[in-house]
Amino acid sequence: MAIIYEKEYNGQVIKINDHFVADPDETYTNAARTAYTIHAEGAAQGTNTYWQQPWTFLMPDSWIVQIEGSGISPRGNFTKALYFSVNDFTEEPRDTLLLAIAGNNFYNQLATQQRNLYLPDNNMWSAAYSSDLQATFSTNLPIFEDKQTAEAYCNETSETVRKNMIMQSAVNYKNSEEEPDTVDLEINNYGVLQIWTAEGQQDAHSTTLIYRCFKIKKTAGEITFYKIPGIDGDSLKYGIKYSNDFEAYYIGYSEDGGNTYTQVDQLPYNFIYRKRENELGRFYASPIDVELDSSNTGIPTWDSEEDADDYLDGNKDITEATNWPTISKNYPITNGTEEGESATEFGETYIRSVFSQLYMLSSGGLSEISNGLFDVSVNGIWEKIQKGIEMYGTDPMQCVQGLTYYPFDLSSIFTNYADQQYVYFGGYQLQMQNTAKKILFPQGYKDLGTMTIKRSFNDWRDFEPYTKLFVYLPYVGVQQLSLARYYGKTVTVRYYVDIRTAVCMVVLIANGIMLDYFMGQMGVQMPITLTDFARYSANQINTIMQGATSALSAVNPFCGSIAKIGLASASSLYASEQADIKENGSWAKLASHTHDGSKNAIAATVAGEVGAMGLAGGLTAMKTTFELSQNGINGYNKTKGSATSMLNCYLPQYITFMFEIMESDESEYLNELAGKPTNMSGRIGDFSGYLECDDVMLICPIATDAERQEIINLVRAGIYL
């Protein structure tokens, strides 16, 4: 028997073997199902105990449990069901998947044993335990997923309808009258016993219905036909062969021409037969089609038993079958490669620019950087000028490459990043209070959702041009999709983002295979404006020099001349050595450079004194000039980049699939009066109602030529059968 259901928990598996067969129309009474069996097989270890006969446990080699309902000693009327349960036991091994019994009004006196058991009721435990439960069960009790449903089933005694509804949710439920939805093989053309004593003369008694009608739905293995030789003319006799591993979910044969089928373990015959018309003799004529093309769903036929054996042994391919052209439609298209479809292997990028860095920033972090770079307070600006060389020659704009906004938190895609409290402008480290997330590898994608595309009409109207499928993709736009490619598939919409160009790529994926991709612009690029501190600082130096010179000149023309000399030297010194400019120290240093004390101590003294005298007035003037020049700092701002549109952000941010469906206005009588399109091949008698044909191979020996032609013309124009 096949496994129909598996429940796994924490490495332990309970398998349900076969269906619980029930008739939903059966009226259940309290007396129903008082007798039941549970048959279990599985690996087990440990000892076994039992409370009451006839429970039988064969342990530990083969774990077989046979429980008869009568052994439960029920008191009064009750209904039982099983349910899956997970219990956390106090003893090892704990946390075990159980199959538990629910019942109403049980006589619960089974011994309690806290092991991982498999058949406990509320207060009762059966015997065996296993540390490695791999049990297979078959039972005629319904098994439910949870205790609540099982109890609802057991307690529902008054309303049969309700009880049956619950019963049908059992994992092992099966209607006893149910037949398989589809069959692998169906020979449904019944025949009659025909005795032909002479050509054209059929014996009057040859009307016995025969029952070579059968259906098979296999679960494993192969079934095939082979032509039995020695049959004359158009008669055919096919033997039926099965592979050694053949198993069938359903085998049925009919004795009433296919009206009702009886389920059996194996067919009561191993061949089918079709007699040639007017062949003399005695025939059990199962009128199989010559090529078995309309009555099966892909069973191969062979010219000989040897070929059939080779096929079942794997030495012949099904494409070599004699009826392959007919049955090939039942097999998947292999693209000529005979290989299955390959899943799409998406590429990965390891592109990492070590010369520039990508920082993910919040608006707070971005503001902090902006404020830092525009900090023109006296201390701030001097600090930055001091660091000017490190910072691209005092122009931070030189190291800014771009600023882009994205409509979602980038850290959800680019997960390979480092949190930092600073960013680097060239070699200059700008400290931050906020965290900048430095992207280490710019690789990632975002799955925004899935959508299952289903057909609306299940006919030709589901396809273009009658139905069209569009998808609106944020930041890409509306794209039309090919319906044939999408029907029956669950589509995942995946966004890739190129963080350097702000371009996004949307990939539509189903079953691991890329169906379509589209490109769009996602990021909003923003211009950046920063101050060119190189020009600004140079201007400041000039301003300082001019202010100091003017001040000294105003105090004493002589001293002013000396001061000019000193200032010229100081300016040169600044340019060459980047000396710290301090109000007193710098001037002292300047003096020591300008006037070598060993050569002219007097001059040094004079110059120092005179310089000191001019400094007070010079600095006053310089300060005023600097404050004025601050107001003009915007004149040194530079802007890089330009803004791209952010209007996409105003459009819907949801992915939306749009079906544009032409609504048909079909006449109520269309099928009755004019039929519907078909390309079916068959015999005229196979049809009913309206029939209109393209091709007719008319067999009507009694009619005259003119009458045959009239029939053909009418069948082509349309007749009502």
């Binding site: 938190d409 925004l448 469906i661 009694i702 005259t704 059968l721």
Partner: protein, 147 residues
């Protein structure tokens, strides 16, 4: 020769015609004729004006009938065979490739007999989660030259 006279309201392209028996008569062939075109004179019968169909067992054929009144108590029946109904059992096993059918439809084949309303129906189905533009998350990328 036996002749069964009917009234039928069924069209010519109906195989199993609805018919009501008016009279069963005997008649003689008016002249030599082919089986598919037969002319007979029969005695006057009451419902002759309703007669439009006939069956001649000897010929195994049904016929469309035109009735002509002739002198005396005679009625002339001009009959043309209806092979579609007459020989159905003979040709029902003939193989065909059907184009239209009421019983065996291929739902995937377009039907040019079906008209459509001029305005299509639009169905929108949202999918998954939306982008959530925000300035508070890590939504900005600053690219800097540097280490």
């Amino acid at each position: 020769m036996e002749l069964r006279l009917y009234n039928t309201s069924s069209a010519h392209n109906v195989v199993r015609k609805q018919m009501s028996l008016l009279a069963t008569l005997t008649g003689e062939l008016k002249e030599n004729c082919r089986m598919e075109n037969v002319t007979m004179n029969v005695t006057y019968f009451a419902d002759y004006y309703r007669c439009n169909y006939a069956y001649i067992p000897e010929f195994h054929r049904y016929y469309y009938v035109n009735v002509m009144l002739i002198d005396g108590n005679q009625v002339r029946l001009i009959m043309k065979s209806d092979p579609l109904t007459s020989f159905y059992d003979g040709y029902k096993n003939s193989k065909v490739i059907a184009r239209r059918s009421s019983s065996n439809v291929n739902p995937n084949l377009p039907d040019d007999r079906v008209p459509f309303k001029p305005v299509p129906k639009i169905i929108h189905r949202k999918c998954g989660t939306a982008f959530v533009p925000s300035s508070s998350g890590y939504c900005y990328v600053l690219t800097l030259g540097g280490k």
